[in-house]
């Protein structure tokens, strides 16, 4: 039996069908880049990824469950979590690849990105984001993760800073406070108001333990208090930079005359002016024990819960010479040694996309990482929360880009505590810079 090459005689209709199919195929082939763009996760293998995250209990678990749902929807594989206590996160990332290849993705404190890059732990993901993506990110999201022209990973959310207060309280004394960054006050102007409100409220309440300001120091590293010495200098000055341009020296910057003024202010608000408690218990505003609370958007929910009756308002944080706030949060990073680098990088692309970031940013009740996403968050378009977006856009800078940020932050916390306790500021700053420099030399 012989088999014909064409088992049937094609009719004219068959030829036309074939031609149209060919044309369609050609058209589709020609459009293939457009199709690839339509599927931003092309190449995703659906591999299981292990994520190193900090153990935030049910709150983080629920958030990551929603991330998993959306990640699966775009073809991503199962997400497995290696959880460590919050305080151990940096140690866990640094040692992730000792004794074998560690997790595929790290959730790390964003200022440590430069450290992990220096230690060769993380892979750049610049190719996962277009120029438009990078420009859509809020400034600190990009600046914080960009090292030597490479982008290492998107943040989980943005922050911003402002002073929360109860408008009923300020109206009681006929005080009109700034509501926009354009009207922002310096510390000198604020100190007058802080002193006045504190004195009046103490008298009204008959309670000497009411304070004007909870500055949020004591357990937040230099996120809040680091602004004091930086704000004392002009933009670009040694004080403003806090560390040298190569990130390896703090002497001459952190103990510069301008920076010392800022450090002295930290002490003065606790002692000379006495407008801030030495307590590090964050719930003082929730319990109506302070008038103003320097905070981030994350605190909105607990404030609303604890004090539903207040007329919540926000004001720009005080500054000495240059307005400045630290922002930035956690960043997603790819382990350079992972065997699943393709899926891991695509996971970061997903977490940097509106779809992925929305889950986490909402979970943290914080602003998203993209400017374009604010349109979907009405709460950040009106008072009091719109001020946080303005502060991110206009005043925010990453914390100092130092290869040993964790070491700097530890020593800063010690310096801050010693200053708050009433120590002599200049010698303390000199000693701190000497010790910080000794640690930073190891990264040289």
């Amino acid at each position: 039996m012989t088999r014909s090459a064409i088992p049937f005689e094609p009719s004219r209709r068959d030829v036309l069908k074939g031609l149209s199919a060919g044309l369609a195929a050609t058209a589709l082939g020609g459009l293939s880049p457009a199709f690839a763009q339509a599927d931003p996760y092309a190449g995703l293998k659906g591999e299981e990824l292990e994520l190193l995250i900090w153990d935030g209990g049910a709150f983080v678990d629920n958030m990551m469950a929603r991330v998993q749902e959306r990640w699966s929807a775009v073809g991503g594989g199962a997400l497995k979590f290696r959880k460590v206590p919050f305080g151990d996160l940096d140690r866990a990332v640094r040692s992730a690849n000792q004794g074998g290849i560690g997790p595929d993705v790290f959730l790390a404190n964003a200022p440590n990105v430069i450290t992990y890059k220096k230690l060769g732990l993380i892979e750049p993901v610049t190719d996962m984001f277009t120029k438009e993506d990078l420009e859509d990110f809020f400034p600190t999201v990009r600046l914080g993760s960009e090292i030597d022209g490479e982008f290492y990973g998107p943040s989980t959310n943005e922050n911003g800073q402002a002073l929360y207060y109860d408008r009923q309280l300020t109206e009681r004394y006929g005080l009109k406070l700034p509501e926009t960054l354009a009207d922002a006050w310096t510390w000198d102007e604020w100190l007058r108001v802080f002193t006045e409100i504190q004195a009046a409220e103490r008298k009204r309440r008959g309670n000497e333990q009411f304070f004007a300001l909870y500055p949020n120091m004591g357990n937040t590293g230099l996120f809040f208090s680091g602004s004091y010495p930086r704000s004392a200098g002009e933009k670009g000055s040694d004080a403003w930079k806090m560390v040298s341009d190569d990130g390896l020296k703090s002497s001459g910057c952190l103990n510069s005359p301008e920076a010392i003024k800022g450090l002295q202010l930290i002490q003065d608000i606790h002692h000379r002016h006495g407008i801030a408690p030495v307590s590090t218990q964050k719930d003082m505003f929730y319990n109506d024990q302070v008038a103003f609370f320097c905070g981030v958007p994350l605190y909105l929910a607990p404030i609303r819960k604890a004090r539903p009756d207040i007329d919540l308002a926000t004001a720009p944080v005080p500054y000495i010479r240059t307005p400045i706030i630290h922002t930035g949060s956690f960043a997603w990073l790819v382990n350079r040694q992972t065997a699943k680098i393709g899926d891991a990088k695509l996971f970061l692309k997903f977490m940097g996309s509106p779809q992925g970031n929305d889950v986490v940013a909402r979970g943290w009740t914080s602003p998203p990482i993209r400017k374009s996403m604010v349109a979907d968050r009405p709460e950040f378009q009106t008072k009091p929360m719109a001020l946080f977006i303005d502060s991110i856009t206009e005043w925010s800078v990453p914390r100092p880009k130092v290869p040993g940020f964790s070491e700097l932050d530890t020593m800063w916390s010690r310096l801050e505590a010693d200053i708050v306790s009433g120590g002599d500021v200049k010698p303390l700053a000199d000693d701190a810079t000497r010790r910080i420099d000794a640690q930073l030399r190891r990264y040289g």
């Binding site: 450290t115 408690p277 030495v278 003082m284 505590a417 303390l428 640690q439």
Partner: protein, 307 residues
Amino acid sequence: MDTTIAIRPVRLKPRLPALLEGWGPALVFLAPALVMLCLFKLWLIAEAVYTSTGTFDPGGQRIGNAGLDNFGFALSDSRFQWGLWLSLFAAVAKVPVQLALGLAAALMLRANTGGNAVVRAMVISPMFFGLPVTTFIFAYMFDANVGAVNAILSGIGLPRVAWLSTEAPAQMLVLGLSIWRDVGVTMLVFLAGLSAIPPQIANAAKLDGAGPFALFFTITLPLLARSFQFAVVLATLASFQILVPVLMLTKGGPTGATDLASFQIYETAFSYFDLGTASAMSLALLFGLIVIIALELRWLAVKWTYE
């Protein structure tokens, strides 16, 4: 021809089994403890010795040999020197107080007074709650502005104290917390010692007309010497290991007032990732502790025994 060969007795080296003759059963019983000792103490000390001779990158990877440089660096650091002195002062302050409180608690329990339940709860509870929990409670109790202790002080007209940001109160707080945590162990040691004193001795003394004080100072206290020695050693060890209260309450401050050597070792290893220096600091502290405990054992050596 007769040949006489003088045979000299050859003294053979005793073989290992011969050396162990009579030790077999003892070794069998000691084996679990020896294994644990090797695994959880000696091996770690050996590891620390090795680590102390290395240089490490900030990721914790050994990148070279340092010889004894880490020891030189650690011992010449004024902060660590201060930490060692502070640890010694902490031991000098803590050990007598802890012994006195532990002995008092043991005597109260032994006497079976009405306050037994309170003593047991006060002394034993911190052992079970765990130090982080107890420290957390302390942080709230002694907060300068919202703490219960200052509220009470203020309520009775006394000035508030910045417990955690003033040097002497912060030191007292760290030591107090540490004493409270450890006094239960001391009490148990003394309770065991009190139980071992033959009652006939005290009865004989009573017949001779000894009162409670004479009984305590001439009979009970001297016969507790062995327990005393053991309790002193344990308390000294614990004094040099104070970490959690410092870590959670003061972080070495204010202005270095609670910057104990143990905290510095922790910080150097786990905040600055300088494992070589941290190991050298640990070994320096260990060596100092061995010397101190050897002196204590010598001074408190008991030369009598029950027949």
